[in-house]
């Protein structure tokens, strides 16, 4: 085994550190993955801002869904790769996605009750 492996090719060992026996262990992102993720996040942000300045697109029906999708995509990428949730123990996923799901449903309910999705009964 090469004990002098290149630093830039080494897997991120965050979870190896955090996982005691019993925890799940997977392969982790490399530094090059982190850079690629940063480029993708930047490109998505540029796309969002570009969409904001296209009047015909803003006036169309696809503007809001597109922005919401791109925002959700960026959110998921950061959580999965930078927060390592993709590689982490499922308990952490539950601790994060559980409250997030409850909060999202609460947001939807409030929007239906008081917001722009208000439905007259």
């Amino acid at each position: 085994m090469d004990n002098h492996a290149s630093l830039t090719n080494l897997p991120d060992s965050a979870e190896a550190h955090a996982h005691a026996p019993g925890g799940e262990e997977h392969s982790h992102p490399t530094w090059s993955t982190y850079w690629k993720v940063a480029v993708i996040l930047t490109l998505i942000t540029v796309g969002e801002v570009w969409a904001y300045y296209v009047p015909s697109f803003v006036a169309g029906r696809g503007f809001v869904p597109t922005l919401l999708f791109l925002s959700a995509l960026k959110f998921a990428i950061v959580v999965m790769f930078y927060m390592h949730l993709k590689y982490d123990h499922r308990l952490f996923r539950v601790l994060f996605t559980g409250p997030l799901l409850i909060a999202g449903l609460t947001l939807l309910a409030l929007m239906f009750l008081f917001g722009h999705l208000y439905i007259k009964m």
Partner: protein
């Protein structure tokens, strides 16, 4: 006879799943923070478009009392720049964590020495966070000068509350990062400290993902 006092560090506390309880705690905290921010975002969205008087976020408004026309108040180019800075800070943070984890590995090239410098990446993250706060201070100041304060209308109240809470979280994160940086300068952060940096990184990335949502929902969607 009592046992002799010891200065050895306290052992790590693991749950029955074999997970460090500190990491479980930070994820539970982040889960609760999700609820806090979604409640603030909900409030903003519910009040969106219901302000009786301006300034408004995306539309010009003429004050009937003075006849002055106020332009849309949100400055998208400035906020886009601050969003980019915060996104980059997340990259710097993962590089800081990786540098701490791999501190003991040999660095043969200049590039590896740069990538392996936890001090550099922690400092860069703190600088990026401070820059974001500078953008926010500029934005808040210009809004107040243009006639929008927290008491002006529903938009002002919900906007300043939401973004102010986020700014307070960024401020706490910057202080946390500077503390880690001070520890790194004082005694050096190594693989044994990786979990401490990992927990700070999780908090920092959470602050970033909250801004991702705010940027779209508050600034971009008209």
């Amino acid at each position: 006879m009592s046992a002799p006092a010891t200065h050895a560090p306290a052992p790590h506390h693991y749950t029955t799943l074999g997970l460090d309880s500190r990491k479980v705690a930070i994820w539970a905290f982040i889960g609760s923070e999700c609820m806090l921010f979604v409640s603030l975002i909900s409030t903003y969205l519910i009040y969106k478009g219901r302000s009786v008087i301006g300034p408004f976020p995306h539309e010009a408004w003429t004050d009937p009392a003075t006849g002055h026309t106020l332009r849309p108040i949100l400055n998208i180019p400035v906020t886009s720049a601050s969003t980019f800075v915060l996104l980059m800070s997340s990259l710097f943070m993962v590089l800081a964590l990786a540098a701490v984890q791999n501190k003991n590995l040999p660095k043969r090239t200049r590039g590896e020495r740069i990538l392996g410098s936890s001090k550099l990446w922690l400092l860069m993250t703190a600088i990026a966070g401070t820059t974001f706060l500078g953008f926010q201070a500029y934005e808040f100041t210009s809004f107040v000068h243009e006639g929008l304060s927290i008491r002006t209308n529903l938009f002002g109240s919900s906007f300043f509350t939401l973004t102010g809470f986020h700014g307070a979280h960024v401020t706490a994160g910057v202080l946390w990062l500077l503390t880690l940086l001070a520890i790194d300068y004082r005694r050096g952060l190594g693989p044994r400290d990786a979990l401490l940096v990992d927990i700070a990184a999780l908090y920092w990335h959470f602050v970033d993902v909250v801004w991702i949502a705010i940027f779209t929902l508050v600034y971009l969607i008209k």
